[in-house]
Symmetry: C3
């Protein structure tokens, strides 16, 4: 059953509308991961970015610049993070055979410090690169149990996350 918030005309009622000039503010955070998979709660950094931007109505895009580090919203409960790590291992086992890990035949994007990380890319494919969250009346619209995570899927390293706030 869907209960819409309705006005007297039987239509959806806008909760809030902003018509003032819009702005875009971009922030970057650097993270140093220490484990894999590792779930790093970056909710505070997202909140700080919104406060700093001055945007009170709009949305925020949280974006990973990596193909083996994902952005996801879920619950910050330590035991659950272990469950999610096990689900990822189930979907793309670290020790399975990946052609990407066969450095004897691979020719593309080979670096000096190349590590076998086929499983990291395949997990990332299922997770994703970004999340977008509404901002209403200056409040980031995370639900009670929602936190924003950067998830390290590869071996520990330096990572960059962009936070882009758009709105009025």
């Amino acid at each position: 059953m869907i209960r819409q918030q309705v006005n007297q005309n039987g239509l959806l009622t806008p909760m809030r509308t902003a018509d003032s000039p819009m702005r875009i503010c971009n922030f970057q955070i650097s993270l140093e991961t220490t484990n894999a998979p590792e779930f790093i709660d970056i909710t505070d950094q997202v909140l700080d970015s919104i406060a700093e931007s001055g945007v009170t109505m709009g949305n925020v895009l949280v974006y990973s610049k990596h193909t083996t580090a994902a952005i996801k919203i879920n619950e910050m409960e330590p035991l659950l993070l272990e469950d999610m790590a096990r689900t990822l291992e189930h979907i793309a086992p670290r020790d399975a055979d990946y052609r990407h890990n066969d450095f004897t035949v691979r020719t593309v994007n080979m670096n000096e410090d190349e590590c076998p990380n086929g499983h990291s890319h395949c997990s990332h494919l299922m997770l994703g690169t970004s999340e977008t969250i509404p901002i209403i009346d200056g409040e980031l619209q995370l639900g009670q149990y929602q936190s924003v995570f950067m998830i390290e899927l590869d071996h520990p390293r330096d990572r960059e996350v962009l936070i882009s706030v758009i709105g009025a």
Copy 2:
């Protein structure tokens, strides 16, 4: 083969451009779920929100405030919904062992009415929290077989979905 729409200069041709002042309109819908997993088609509510907003060029963000209820676009075909439920069960079986479900050791976010829902969180991790869809010339750009679903992954309960329309 990629066939771009090209103009006389050999570049991509914009289909439409809007330069007028932008606005943001936010809507909320409340849903009462009755099953799990349950796929609830909320396409009509998204369409109503866009009509109400007056935005004819922009995009709409459909956002779940929950870590065990997802937003996804797929086809509204009843038998397919059964297939998708089975795929979710395959990825994160309801009866598998989840540390999140061990209430004898867990200390974080424990509520009176806590239910074992580790599988719901792990499914949600693979699905996602939101979808963003373009609006062009007043038309939501859903393809012929695309519907917007809120997917209940946990036990039936009340849910909140935000619909945020941005554009001109």
Copy 3:
């Protein structure tokens, strides 16, 4: 460890801010797929759209109008694409039983050229319909190894992808 970029006040420093009037430019590309799964790199088309739009600060939404063709960011490495195809087959095997493929009982959305594609929909559910990427100082913020793919999950056919650029 999270290292924020901080200013003298100890707050996050905006990398860039744009306050000028915003615009929205929409582009469409048509693709003819030849295999399944097939990963088609559409990064150049996204870059062309941004250049054509004139937007230097904002973001771009890349959107598939299909329920069996996904948009995903990952690494363009041919052997890895084979690994990702195998992961998809693991999650939603092509030859498993899908009720959506039982044309003797199915009544909804049946077409003359209906093919059994339950696996395509179930893979799509795990992948997704769109990606959103920040644009800063005229540069699409893809990381070194990030490419944008349209992924054909069903049998080869014509596909439409929308590219919507918003910003200043």
